[in-house]
Symmetry: C2
Subunit: 584 residues, 2 copies
Amino acid sequence: MYRTHTCGELRLSEANQNVTLAGWVQRVRKFGGLTFVDIRDRYGVTQLAFNQQNNAELCEAAEQLGREYVVQASGIVVERTSKNPNLPTGDIEIQVTDLQVLNASKVPPFLIENDTDGGDDLRMQYRYLDLRRPSVQKNLILRHNIAQEARRYLCNLGFLEIETPFLIKSTPEGARDFVVPSRMNPGQFYALPQSPQTFKQLLMVSGYDKYFQIVRCFRDEDLRADRQPEFTQIDCEMAFVEREDVLQTFEGLLHHIFRYVKNYDLGEVIRMSYDEAMQLYGSDKPDIRFGMQFVELNNLVQGKGFKVFDEAELVVGIVAKGAADYTRKQIDELTEWMKRPQIGAKGLVYARVGEDGSVKSSVDKFYSEADLQAVATAMGAEKGDLIFIVSGEAAKARKQLSELRLEMGSRLGLRRPDDFKALWVLDFPVLEWDEEDQRWIACHHPFTRPKNAATLLTENPATLKAEAYDLVLNGNEIAGGSIRIHERELQSKMFELLGFSPEEAQRKFGFLLGAFEYGAPPHGGIAFGFDRLCSILGGADVIRDFIAFPKNNSGRDVMIDAPSSIDDKQMNELKLRLQEITKA
Amino acid sequence: MYRTHTCGELRLSEANQNVTLAGWVQRVRKFGGLTFVDIRDRYGVTQLAFNQQNNAELCEAAEQLGREYVVQASGIVVERTSKNPNLPTGDIEIQVTDLQVLNASKVPPFLIENDTDGGDDLRMQYRYLDLRRPSVQKNLILRHNIAQEARRYLCNLGFLEIETPFLIKSTPEGARDFVVPSRMNPGQFYALPQSPQTFKQLLMVSGYDKYFQIVRCFRDEDLRADRQPEFTQIDCEMAFVEREDVLQTFEGLLHHIFRYVKNYDLGEVIRMSYDEAMQLYGSDKPDIRFGMQFVELNNLVQGKGFKVFDEAELVVGIVAKGAADYTRKQIDELTEWMKRPQIGAKGLVYARVGEDGSVKSSVDKFYSEADLQAVATAMGAEKGDLIFIVSGEAAKARKQLSELRLEMGSRLGLRRPDDFKALWVLDFPVLEWDEEDQRWIACHHPFTRPKNAATLLTENPATLKAEAYDLVLNGNEIAGGSIRIHERELQSKMFELLGFSPEEAQRKFGFLLGAFEYGAPPHGGIAFGFDRLCSILGGADVIRDFIAFPKNNSGRDVMIDAPSSIDDKQMNELKLRLQEITKA
């Protein structure tokens, strides 16, 4: 037994007890004949005390300890003369009678503290030290707690956790698969799952009724910032459900997690159609912690001689409350920000509502004071507010204004990380037209059920709405799902719309089409992006800090140095050769 | 809402209620003007009743229903005139007023019942139907329950569930890795983990103190019967522990699982050294549900002129209680069984203890009655018992006799699947000599700590014992682990003993050696084979029935037809080519 207590456990109630602790040396301080050593473990920090007069040898040994040494110390718990109210163990210290160095440590390459001096690359290389920092430990403990509470909620509702395979079949569309060469079946490959989608649907066909799994998924995509090639989903499916059943079950899950992990009442999860979300926020994942809703201005501003607006499909604006004191320089800077290629706005029109109620805009020469007052009134702008207006092609203008809305929300302090608001976005389109490939692609995936399913067989594909839903938290899509197709004929029709030949559909998804012939029940489900959920609940933007061993933006683990070359024996066993790699 | 209740829920207390059920048609029976339909879901079976007189149209619709149709039925709960005491819902039936066919079904290719007429291949091809069988559902629900109880136990002890990466680095020794080509790093590969071993050790270095994960692992081995290329572990690690701490923690886990999943008191988990297990049972995973311990007979039987025994390194026997009535034919058959190449015994000596106390053996001409009585006495054989003796090289003789012991245990009904006994096997050798490669290999893995670790640097490697432990249940190794090396010097020495050059050790495990320089605590852990644990608790031998979507013995999923070829575009993106595959 290495310890009787952890480093976060001892209080005055343990005074005079003999205890043994083990942990890492956080720091060593010397005051005259006294030496104090703080030792740390996952549970907290405890102060060890050494007295030159009582035991000179031991005291000297303590002075020799370096940062991050692993030690074991035995002694008596005593009340401190000078207590530390900031530390749960701050009322006591250990008068050490025995000290063992269990392992020494080199000086760490960066500070093992919440605010570290280590850069990203160094911290990733020494991830095992980075993971010691209390802030990172807090993140992983939060992740643990969310996982356990999610399971508790789902198990209580009768969901079964069922494991689905990782070595499956490559069916490339949508994202790219990672593949795994099969040695026993030379020339053939498994694929790693992008999600257990078809397997969970089969489990519904098999009568498991309610399924979940907290499961790793894989996508071989070029990594945008903060995307990982492997990521975790809370994956769920239910049989004999309509959309309403699914929504209630999983807004319940979110409420449960907030209540038991954060002690936070999330409040109502409102619902909004995709069309409404696009119209009011220019986004299918609006951040509704703040208002700043879009107001469409075509009727008010067109036909007054301002060509930019007159020629625009859409003129749309937002009101930044109380921002009328933004300087010209600030607005110019925002305008430049909007014109960056990532956003691509042509420009930004603004108008200030002065303290006297007057409206001054950047397009005053085209509009009378009355025109501008009408705009301000329509937008609900009041004294001291700042109006922003963009225009152009509707989809683009909405996207640009959505970016500005989020930016202004941040600048005005309306997006606090400890404030949470969730909503459902419903009624997504089933299909979107891919201009490049000149074909329909599925907005969600080919298994999504259209509303009024029979219309799939008759109506214009562009107008079809899906029984799909996204759960949006603080402007992030944290979960998405749908009621599925469960009829073979309908599923075949969907594959056909998506440009699969019958043979191709059979080859790739024959098992699912087959399953639909043997009594497939109505079913639907959802998958939560677990990494993102953790980061939002942790009040952070970066999912990497909520993953124990993440990859960098090149998909590399720099600590273990993976991926790496494999030896010829392995290549030969797999019957593989490398192509000549020519430099571009 | 598709249903108000499940098919396993209604009782007399719900009589006269209007309800709606949904499920699969189990069977349709017609008695004169009455038609009865049993519908089934995961929760049970409920009888629907249709009356020709009340509603002829509905009754005819019910008669049309085929097996496995998915239906929704509404009606009134009524008390049955003829109750079915074998069914929890057997007191009631539903007088149906509305019936909807939600989906039709073709006639299934095999019976969806506990005893099915479907062969293995057919069942695997239609796994989604096989999974409907109540016996398979029971297995997967058991698996779910074991997983949840394991988590509950570990979480209550403060273990954190932390996810480790699946895309890691190939370090081929021991089993073969599955590899994953990296598109972003052409010519380089990830490997899928055979276990999270090094990552969980790093988590201990990082101070997480207690880690667990129920995690998929991968091994590209030629598949023996009932091995799967992907399998699940309950993987655990603890810091600041000695062996005793680990043993107590995880025999506690096993007790907890038995108590809460099986309502079974497992009793004491005894402990035995590897040497003792080999001596008493000829196996490092003895089935101790029954005795039949080995008795070594060299002293009693050598030097009496029987050359086979005289030349043997070991003569060793077991007593089959009450089996003296085995016929000559039965014994001959057992002898042939022992001589099969899989076991490889040269022969089998037997002796019967008659009802009169006399001992008659197959080697009577070499031994006097007194000699044989002495053997019987030494072995504790009594009237009516049958003695088996094998001889030869010690290791081989033990292995052969161990097989016979298990076989006799089975034949004598001493290995009941509802009887459970567990033990720890301790003090394994650290290393074994590989004759083929002429080098030491690790009995467990290179991270296992030797007892009296310092001796690693000085003693004969052959005599070193490890701080390793296996948990054995009913003759199966269900978990194995060890206290680990946590000092860089010792780990380097171990790599050296295993034939790694310093450069190779650094290239493959530099991150771990590095971590050991920054304050690695003493630590140790264990991993449970989760699939096997489930099958034993389920009273079955075959793990495949406890996995939702298993692979066959060629590593194929015949339902989805994986692995399969991938298209040229994917090969080119990965910069890979297939080697010419020549027929052997």
